[in-house]
Symmetry: C3
Subunit: 264 residues, 3 copies
C-alpha cells in the first residue's frame, strides 16, 4: 500500500494529471496516489520546492514523491530518483527538492534510464507521463531506486536567500501567497522568536485602495481586529502576514520572492 504524491504545475483543467494516475494504476494498482498541488505557477521551481517541503513531513515516511515543475523537459536536464533515509523523490534534476532535502539524508541518486521503467515512446514534452509516473510506480511496486539507471552525483539545488538582519531591522522575503491571500514570509518562527519581531512593522507595497493597519503579532486569525492585518506563527513554521477573513494580498502588490522589510 505505498503512497505516491504528485506535485506539478499542470493545473487540473487538462487530462495531464489524470493520465499520470492512469499510468501509475497500470503499473502499481495497489498504490494510493495523493495530490499535493497541481497549482504551482508555470515553471516556478522555487514555489514547487516550497510546496513539496511543506507537505512531505506529514506523509508516510516510505512514500514516493513525484515533482514535475520542469521547464527543461526534453532538454539535457537529468531525470532522477533520489533515495533518502525517508521517502524516495522522483523528478527533474532542477532543484525542485532543495528544501525537502534539508531534513533528509540522501543515500543515492540515479538517472532514470532503464527502458523497462519508461514509456516505449518518450515524448519531448510530457515526462510526467512518460518517465516520472512510471518510475514512481516501479518503486512503489517494490523496485529499488538503483534499478532506475546509472548512479549520479551533484544534484542541482536552488539558492534560497535567508532573511538578513540589518541592525534591528530584518529584510525577509515573501515565500508564498496562499489561497486565503496570506503572505508567508521567509522568517522561520524557531529562528525569529516573537520578542525579536515585536518592535518591528512590515513595509508592504500597498495599492491605491484601503491600507489596513498593522495590528502586530497575534495568536490566531480570529484575534486580528477587522480591517487590520497581523503577524501569525503559521502552520508552515514561518511567520505569516494575514487578515481575518479577508485576503491581505488583495490590498498590496506583494508577490512571491519579493523583499519584505520589517523595520522599527
Amino acid at each position: 500500500m505505498t503512497t505516491i504524491s504528485l506535485t506539478t504545475d499542470f493545473g487540473l483543467q487538462d487530462w495531464y494529471v489524470g493520465t499520470m494516475k492512469g499510468v501509475i494504476q497500470r503499473i502499481a494498482p495497489g498504490a494510493t496516489v495523493i495530490d499535493i498541488s497541481h497549482g504551482v505557477r508555470q515553471g516556478d521551481i522555487r514555489q514547487g520546492a516550497f510546496m513539496i517541503s511543506q507537505a512531505l513531513p506529514w506523509f508516510p515516511s516510505d512514500a514516493v514523491h513525484v515533482g514535475v515543475v520542469d521547464p527543461g523537459v526534453g532538454s539535457s536536464r537529468r531525470a532522477v530518483v533520489i533515495e533518502t533515509d525517508g521517502p524516495v523523490l522522483v523528478g527533474p534534476d532542477n532543484g525542485l527538492f532543495t528544501q525537502a532535502l534539508r531534513t533528509l539524508t540522501v543515500r543515492g541518486v540515479w538517472s532514470i534510464a532503464n527502458i523497462d521503467w519508461i514509456s516505449p515512446e518518450v515524448s519531448s514534452t510530457f515526462h510526467g507521463r512518460d518517465i516520472f509516473a512510471p518510475a514512481a510506480a516501479r518503486i512503489a511496486g517494490g523496485a529499488h531506486p538503483s534499478e532506475a539507471g546509472p548512479e549520479l552525483t551533484g544534484l542541482q539545488s536552488l539558492e534560497l536567500p535567508e532573511p538578513e538582519r540589518h541592525g534591528k531591522a530584518v529584510l525577509a522575503r515573501v515565500l508564498h501567497v496562499d489561497h486565503f491571500g496570506n503572505l508567508i514570509t521567509s522568517m522561520e518562527t524557531r529562528l525569529f522568536p516573537a520578542e525579536s519581531l515585536s518592535d518591528l512593522a512590515p513595509e508592504l507595497p500597498w495599492g491605491t485602495g484601503m491600507r489596513p493597519e498593522y495590528a502586530g503579532i497575534k495568536s490566531c486569525y480570529h484575534d486580528i481586529p477587522d480591517g487590520q492585518f497581523g503577524l501569525i506563527a503559521g502552520s508552515t513554521g514561518y511567520w505569516e502576514l494575514a487578515m481575518n477573513c479577508c485576503p491581505l494580498a488583495g490590498f498590496c502588490h506583494q508577490a512571491p520572492d519579493q523583499p519584505l522589510p520589517f523595520r522599527p
Copy 2:
C-alpha cells in the same frame, strides 16, 4: 475500507488538502478519501453546510465526514466529533453540519482533546492538518468517537431562513450559485409543488446587459428556449433558475443568501 470525505474552503492551489490526506494515509492507510469540495468561499460556513448536506446522503452510511470552514481556528471555538445514526461528522463547532444533521439523529458529541488523536504540536492556523484529519483517521481506523475527549452538549447551529409566503408571492433566497451559473433557490420542491409557482415569476437584480426572458417551469435544461431562463426541479431537492448552456448568474448580480422574490 472506511470512507472519509473532505469539505473545506482551502482551495486546491496550496498543499493544504494534500497534507490532510498525507496525515490520514499515515494513520488509516486503508481509508478511501473523497473530496466533496474545497471550493467553499473563504469562511462561508453557510455555503459549506449546504454542500455537505447535499453530498452526504449519497455516501456510504458509515462514512466519516470532515468539514473545515473554520474562521475561528485557534480561538476558543470547539473542535468536535459528532456520532449519529449514520455517518460520523468531524469539524469545528460552528454550525457547519446544521443542514446535514436535519435528517440524522445525534447519538453523542465529543470534544477532540485526546493527545494521542492530534498532532504533537498543534498550530493555531491549520487544525485541518493537526486535529480534524487525524481524528477522522482514528475513527476510520476503528476508534469510537467517545475516545476523542470529553462529551459535550449544545452544538452551534446556523439560522437558515425559510422561504416566506406573502399572499400569492414567495420570498425565497439564493442558496447557491453553481459552476454552471445556475441559481439554486431556498424553495424545496416537496414543499413548493409546481402548481404553487406556475403563476409567479422571479425578480432578479439584472445587470446592464441582456435581460433574458423568463420561460416558466421547465422539465430539463434542454427544454429552456435559447436566450431565456427557466425554473427547474433541481437535483438538490430545491427549485433552481437556469439557462440552457449559458450561465444565468452572468446576467445578474444575484449572490448566495440574497433575497429572491417570486411574484404574480
Copy 3:
C-alpha cells in the same frame, strides 16, 4: 481493483464530482476512481471527447470510463454503456466517445434502463449521480454491460474536420488550448512529418500587443528562443504551437475549433 475514470464539465467548486464518487464508493467500494478532468468547458462535447481520447490509452485496459458532458440531460437523448475490446465507456449518447472509439472495437451498446442500476429517483439534471456513476460502479463490481438494459445500435458521433491541404498550405484547426497556453493543432505528427511543415508558418489572430516571432519546428519547449513561439511534436500525437515558459494563447485570440492556416 477495477479503475473508473471520470471526465465532466462539472468543475470542482461544487459537490457534484464528490457526490458521484460517494455513489461509486457505496456500490463498488474496491474501485479506484481517477479524475481525467472536470474542466471541460460547459457543454463542450468536442473538448470532452478530445480529453477522453488523450487519457484513455494510458489507463488499465479493463477500466470503466465515465464521461458526462451532457447538455441534453433529462431530454430524450440516450444513456449508454459501450463494451469494447478494451475499456467500457459510460455516458450520454452524444458523441462524447467519438475519438476514443477510433482505436477500439465496439462489441455492444446498451441503454441504461435497469432500475437496479440507477437511483430510485432519477433527477432531470444530474444523471452523473443518478445514472452514470451507479452504472459504472455496477460494471466495476463485475456486472456485464448487457445487464444495463436493451441493446442499441446507431451511436451518435461527432464530425471532426481533418486538416485540409491546399497546394503547399495546410488548413488545420486548434483542437485544444491547454493550461500552459499551448495551442494543440489538428495535425497528427504521424500524418504530417516535419518535412511537410518546415517551409510553412502559422497565421495566428494576434491581439493588439506583442506579436511573438515564429521560430519554426523545435524539439522541446526549452529550445524555443525567449519571446518567440515554435512548433513542437506534442505528447498528444499532434503538432502544437508553444512558447517557452509563457502562454502563447495570451497573445492571440485563438480558440478551440478555430481555423489555423499554415502557409508558405
